[in-house]
Amino acid sequence: MTVARLALQSLRNRWVTVTLTILAISVSVMLLLGVEKVRSGARDSFAGTVSGADLVIGARSGGMQLLLYSVFHIGNATNNVTWRSYEDIVSRPEVAWAIPLALGDSHRGFRVIGTTPDYFAHLQYRGGQTLKFAAGAAFNDLFDVVLGADVASRLDYSIGDKITVAHGVGSLGPQHDDLPFRVSGILARTGTPVDKSLHVSLKAIEAIHVDWRSGSRIPGLATTADRLRQMPLPPRAITAAIIGLKSRLQVIGFQRTVNEYRAEPLSGVMPGVALQEMWGLIGTAETALLGVSAMVVVTSMLGLSAMILSTLNERRREIAILRSLGARPGTVAGLLVGEATLLTVAGIAIGTAALYAVLVVARPIIDRQFGIDIGVQPPSTTDALLLLAILIGGMAAGVLPAYGAYRMSLANGMRMRT
């Protein structure tokens, strides 16, 4: 069609401005879509910190607090759960598996978790992935420790290294330096708080505290490692536990059982629900970021509008010619809206393609550095809606100049003077 061909020739004639405008739109599309990808990636990674678990239990507290100290290792528990209560609860028929967590010690700023081998068998993250060993194996000896990926890489530890554990979570706390641990295994990276944890057996936690009372060493007592290995050392208390049930349907009932447990005040929280609540808090920053990139899109749309508007004066003649040949004012206006639409579509296509190219390259790096897995999937519904909004914005950007052209063609008719 001649009109369309001439419109394209017109664009080609202004290729420098046209290219820059398309580039501006592409960059804004990349930014908006990229922020949205990172946002949903971060949300999914966050929500995937624990997966497959049905309930996290601990001493009575708010759900978020419980999740913070048990899963994210932020803050401390106000109270412990006695081993007897724990055993009582996990012996219930609904329970498929349970992972006890005993917190309170640390190693150079990283938390030490006392647990059982079930930790490595049942803890899941990001849609059902289980923990894998990058090197070595789970703890076997009383003084074996399994390191998270970050701990090993930051502190440059490898299998067989000896480390000591500090009492309390401050790095300057008193050391259990008489009883060094041997690194028996190093976990593969997960992008979750597991990477920043050291794992020992529950018995080890008891063992290093045998000679301690109320947070300090009892003077004169120094039970040797070999002697400790012979001692029975039943766990007295844990901090929290992660529990998987045989059936999802039992969660609500089981949660009530925990919350109404008579022997001591306990809380049970569904991790998915609490993670969503927490995301509501930290997600605000992401929303702000999305807002900023939306502004960038608006700016590029204004640029598009200004670009077309600035050509309008040069196009007086063009408009008069088209009108004289029988083009309706609507056709003239439609050409300008069409131009804006075409540039926006080109910008969206290029921006989206460029973003995916960047994602493919950067995905492993981002996952390694920040533990955020940005899936390289086709655009989600949200992405598609954002792109649609940009397209509509682009068409709207053409409306102002088009209205100007419409008015101009009605007012000036064939008169070419400006």
């Binding site: 061909r5 001439l6 202004r14 004289s324 083009a327 009605l410 007012a411 008169r415």
Partner: protein, 240 residues
């Protein structure tokens, strides 16, 4: 000569018109008529209202009072898009200069009016296809055979006027309107241009309405009219 309505190419009666812009230029015409097949020269200085008159009789502008009849059709009876279509079908228009879309290929500039005029497209197709009809006109107007693919802005002013003429003639519209088409050309080229234009107009039997300030052109036309004799141009607030 038959003075029935259908034999009039254009007929204006009691027309009052004023542009809806700041300069508010306006004009009034009590009676003006162009017969079919006539070659009319409208003589007038610039600013006398010639372009406004052309806007009126091609239906780009609509008179506030009186009636404008073209080929027996009252333009004020048509809706605005019907009027645009009517203009596309029945008029070929050549301007003083800047006739072409400068970035467009010559051939696309020539074919452009057919996008808005199905009847003209049908006639051009019947005459051997739109592209070959465009090429035929271009070469009949003395342009080189391969000019179609060139970009309009690379052409000389004289060549551009010929391309604009081919565009006005394609699909054989009934009325050719030319607004000072020769004023940008030097004397020799003026003569060449007019010869070519008249030859093509003879071939299609079209009516020619040309406006100019140049009296020397008068010899080529069947009738010469002074613009000032048919209209009283007025600036806002100073109507005669």
């Amino acid at each position: 000569m038959n003075l029935e309505g259908a034999t009039d190419a254009v007929r204006l009666r009691g027309v009052e018109f004023k542009w809806n812009t700041r300069d508010a230029f306006g004009l009034s015409i009590s009676e003006f008529q162009v017969l079919r097949g006539e070659r009319l020269l409208l003589l007038g200085a610039s600013g006398s209202g010639k372009s406004t008159l052309l806007s009126l009789l091609t239906g780009i502008a609509l008179a506030q009072a009186g009636n404008v009849e073209t080929l027996g059709q009252r333009l004020d009876k048509l809706g605005s898009s019907e009027r645009d279509r009517f203009r596309a079908e029945h008029f070929g228009i050549i301007f003083q200069m800047f006739n072409l879309l400068p970035y467009g290929a010559v051939i696309d500039n020539v074919l452009l009016p057919l996008s808005f005029a199905p009847q003209r497209r049908a006639r051009a197709t019947a005459a051997g296809g739109t592209d070959s009809e465009a090429r035929r006109l271009l070469s009949a107007l003395g342009l080189p055979a391969d000019i179609g693919r060139q970009t309009a802005s690379t052409l000389s002013v004289g060549q551009q006027q010929r391309v604009a003429t081919a565009r006005a003639l394609i699909g054989s519209p009934e009325i050719i309107v030319a607004d000072e088409p020769t004023s940008a050309l030097d004397d020799d080229r003026q003569q060449d241009f007019l010869d070519l234009l008249f030859r093509q107009i003879d071939a299609t039997n079209a009516t020619l309405i040309m406006v100019s300030h140049d009296r020397r052109l008068a010899q080529h036309f069947t009738r010469v009219v002074e613009v000032n004799d048919i209209l009283r141009a007025s600036k806002s607030g100073a109507r005669a």
